[in-house]
Symmetry: C2
Subunit: 435 residues, 2 copies
C-alpha cells in the first residue's frame, strides 16, 4: 500500500543551484518565454517562477526538435550549464533534450516577452492572467511578498502576535458611507473597513498584535492611488507612553523591510529598476507646522497635493523620503482616536507620507471606557450600537496605539509605479471585478 513520508519533494531550481552547476548537466521545468532563431541555432529564453534563463538550441546537440516548441508552452529540459558573461546571471544552458508538458491553445494577446508590456492599464487588466506573465509585471508581486515577509519577521521578533480577524462585520470602524453591505443570513452586515476593533480587542490579552489581511472601502474614487479592496498591514501595541512609541516602531519596521528587500529581492529590484529609500531618521511635523512649511492656508486635512509638497519639503530640508505628520484636527479623525490633552481640538493621530503619498494612518487610541463613551456621544454616535466594542474598555484596556499601512501603496512607491493597480494582482476598482 502507498504511504507518503514527505522526504523526497519535487524541487524547483534556484539561480544559486544553477550557478553551482556550471560545467554540469541539469534538469528543470520552465515556460518557453521567447524563441529567437539565429543562423544555425536558436536562443530559447526559459521562464522559471523567478528567473529568465537563456538556453541555446543547436540541432547538432539537442535531440529534441525545436519546431515543436512554441512561446508559452511548458517544458522539462536537460542541458549543460555554461558560463556566459553576456547572459542573465552570467550563465547559459546548452539544451540536450526537452519534453513538452503542455501547449497553449492561442498566442499571447500581449507582448509578454518584451521588457515592458507597452499596453494601457486597461488592456493589461483585460488580459490580467497574461499580463502577469511579463517579468516586469510579476516582479512587483515578489516585492510585495518581500514587504510582507519583512513586516511579519519584524513583528514576530518584537513580540507581536499574528491575528486573523473577521472581514464580515456588524459595524464599520471608520464610519461613513464608504462601506460595502451584504446580507449575512437574516442580518445586515458589512465588509470590514479595517481590523481596528479586533486588533484593539486583542491588545487586552496579547499586548501586541499584527494582522495582514484584506481591507474594504466602497469609495467611488477612480484614481491612480485608490483600490476598493487592498491588503492592510496593521499593528496595535499596548503599554505605550505616547504615540511616538508607535511611530518609532514603524520606523524600525520600515528599516527592517528595506533591509529584507535588499538581502533577498535583489533580482526583482534589478528587474524593476527600483531605488530603495535610505532611512536614517524620519522627521516629524505637527499638522499645523506642516501647513506652514508648505505655505498652505489652515484646513482640516491634507490634500493629495499637500502630501506631494510635504514630501518635497522633507527631502530638501531633511534629506528624508519619509515624513510623519502628527496632531491632526480631531474632527477629521475617527472616534477611537485619543484627543490631545493639551488641545482638545487635536487628535493624537499621525500619518506617514512617502514619496508624495500617505501610506500609513495611526495614533494613540482612547483606552478609558467613560472617555470613549463621551467621545462617541460628542460625535453623534450612539454607544448602544457599539456594545461589544465598548466591552473591551469596560473590562479594562492598557494605554495603546497602532497603525495601518496600505501594502499596495507602499509597493507602488517603492517601485515608482504610476498606477496602484500594478501593485495589486487582481485589482478591485469601480469597474474591475473580474478576474
Amino acid at each position: 500500500m502507498l504511504t507518503l513520508d514527505g522526504l523526497k519533494l519535487k524541487k524547483c531550481i534556484t539561480i544559486d543551484e544553477l550557478k553551482a552547476s556550471v560545467g554540469q548537466r541539469v534538469a528543470f521545468s520552465a515556460c518557453v518565454h521567447k524563441i529567437r532563431y539565429m543562423s544555425g541555432f536558436a536562443f530559447v529564453i526559459l521562464r522559471t517562477g523567478r528567473y529568465l534563463i537563456q538556453s541555446v538550441h543547436d540541432e547538432k546537440i539537442c535531440t529534441s526538435d525545436i519546431s515543436a516548441l512554441k512561446e508559452g508552452c511548458y517544458i522539462n529540459i536537460t542541458g549543460q550549464v555554461k558560463e556566459d558573461k553576456r547572459a542573465n546571471y552570467q550563465l547559459e544552458i546548452i539544451l540536450e533534450s526537452f519534453d513538452i508538458l503542455s501547449l497553449p491553445e492561442a498566442d499571447y494577446p500581449l507582448h509578454v516577452s518584451n521588457k515592458h508590456l507597452g499596453c494601457s492599464i486597461e488592456t493589461n487588466l483585460e488580459y490580467r492572467s497574461v499580463a502577469l506573465r511579463n517579468p516586469y509585471e510579476r516582479a512587483a508581486f515578489k516585492i510585495s511578498e518581500g514587504v510582507v515577509s519583512g513586516f511579519r519577521e519584524f513583528m514576530l521578533k518584537e513580540g507581536f502576535t499574528e491575528i486573523h480577524s473577521p472581514k464580515i462585520v456588524a459595524a464599520g470602524a471608520e464610519g461613513g458611507a464608504n462601506i460595502f453591505t451584504l446580507k449575512y443570513f437574516d442580518k445586515n452586515a458589512f465588509l470590514a473597513q479595517s481590523p481596528q476593533f479586533y486588533k484593539q480587542t486583542c491588545v487586552a490579552f496579547f499586548d501586541r498584535v499584527f494582522e495582514i489581511g484584506p481591507v474594504y472601502r466602497a469609495e467611488r474614487h477612480n484614481t491612480t492611488r485608490h483600490l476598493n479592496e487592498y491588503i492592510g498591514l496593521d499593528f496595535e501595541m499596548g503599554f505605550i507612553d505616547d504615540m511616538t512609541d508607535v511611530m518609532n516602531m514603524e520606523t524600525a519596521m520600515l528599516k527592517h523591510i528595506l533591509q529584507h528587500l535588499r538581502e533577498h529581492y535583489k533580482n526583482e529590484l534589478e528587474i524593476t529598476g527600483a531605488v530603495l529609500p535610505e532611512i536614517d531618521s524620519i522627521p516629524v511635523l505637527t499638522f499645523f507646522e506642516a501647513l506652514e512649511a508648505i505655505g498652505s492656508p489652515r484646513k482640516y486635512d491634507l490634500e493629495p497635493e499637500d502630501e506631494v509638497k510635504l514630501c518635497n519639503y522633507a527631502k530638501e530640508k531633511f534629506g528624508s523620503e519619509f515624513i510623519f505628520i502628527t496632531h491632526f484636527p480631531a474632527a477629521k479623525r475617527p472616534f477611537y482616536a485619543m484627543n490631545d490633552p493639551e488641545n482638545d481640538k487635536l487628535a493624537l493621530s499621525f500619518d506617514l507620507l512617502f514619496r508624495g503619498l500617505e501610506i500609513t494612518t495611526g495614533g494613540q487610541r482612547i483606552h478609558n471606557y467613560k472617555e470613549q463613551v463621551a467621545k462617541m456621544q460628542k460625535m453623534g454616535l450612539n454607544p448602544d450600537d457599539f456594545r461589544t466594542y465598548l466591552d473591551i474598555f469596560k473590562y479594562g484596556m492598557p494605554p495603546h496605539g497602532g497603525l495601518g499601512i496600505g501594502l499596495e501603496r507602499l509597493v507602488m512607491k517603492l517601485l515608482d509605479l504610476q498606477n496602484i493597480r500594478q501593485a495589486s494582482l487582481f485589482p478591485r476598482d469601480l469597474t474591475h471585478l473580474d478576474p
Copy 2:
C-alpha cells in the same frame, strides 16, 4: 525638531529575559490577572502577552499600596526576580513598586483567572473580548500563529511565492448556493469560496504559490466543525507528475509545522495539554478501498462518521493519526478537478483526514483548455461565464495541483478542542456576527 530613528524601541519582556534576571531588578508591564491575599502578604498573578507570572506583594517591601489594585487593571511594575521551584517558570517577582496605568470600569463577567472558563460556548462568545483573556482560551491563537508561521516558513523555503487574491469576486469557485452575495457598485458580486482560480492563475508565472486568507461559505450548518468565515492555508504547484507530488509536499509541510510548534510554542502546548501527533509516513487509500476498509456500502462522498471510522482504522492498522483518501467519485468534485485517465468516473482528488476530521481537500487540476471546456459543458456549466478563468488555459498552463487546509480545523484537532469556535478569535456562524 523631533526625528525618529527606530533605534530604541518599547520592549515587552520575555520569559528568557526574566530567567536571565534572577537576583536582579526588572521593570515590565502587565495585567493584574488574579490577587490572592495570604496572611501578611499577597500573590499578584501578572498576565503578560504570553505568560502568567507570580509576583508577591509584601507591604514591608513594596512602596505601592495593594488596595489600589484590582483584577483586570494594567500596571507597570518593578521588582526583584527570585527563583521559586513551585511557581510557573520557576520564578517569582518580589514587587518593589507599581504604577496603575488603567483601571477597568467593571469586574469580569467570566471566570477569567480560572484555568478553564467553565461557561457554555454561548456565554463565551457573548463576552468574547473577556473570554479571550483566559490563558487557556488565548493559547489556541498562539498555536494558530505557530501553524501559520510554520506553514509560511515551509512554503517560502520550497520556493512558493506568497500571494494575496481578492475576496470580492465575480464567480464562485466551488459552485452551488453556499455563497454570500453582495452589491459591488452596480454589479452583483460574491465572497470568495476559495482562492482556487487565482492561485491557478499565478502558477502560470510563479510556478508555485501559497496564500493565507479568509474563505467564505454561506452554509446553513450549525455544527461544532463548521464556520462561515475561516482562514484557508492554500497552495498550488506547477510541474507535478501526479497528485502524490502535492500530497508529499503536504506531508513534509505538516512535519515542518509540528516541529515548529514543538520548538517555539512549548508554553502553549503545556497550557492546552496538547499532544501533538507524530508523523512518520501517512497511509493512502482510494475512496473505494476506504469504504471497504470500514465496511461501508458504496456511496459518492464520505460522511462525518466515515471520517471518524477511517481515522480509527488508520490509527489501529498503520499507527497514523492522518490518512489520505484519493480517487473520489468525480460527480462530487469540482469542475476543475482532473479526471482519472484510467476511470473517467473518478477524480484525481484527495482529502486528508486527521483525528476524525477532513482538514484538507486537494488534487490535480485540469491544465488543458479543451479538456476544461468539455468538463464544464458536461457538468452543465456555461464556459462563457468563465471567460477570464478559461484564459489561463488558453494561453498555457503547466500540469499542476494544490490543496486547501482549514486553519481552524487543524488547530481544533491539534488541541483537541470540542468546538471549532474555540479556534476562531471571532467566529462567524449562523447566529454570530458581533463581535
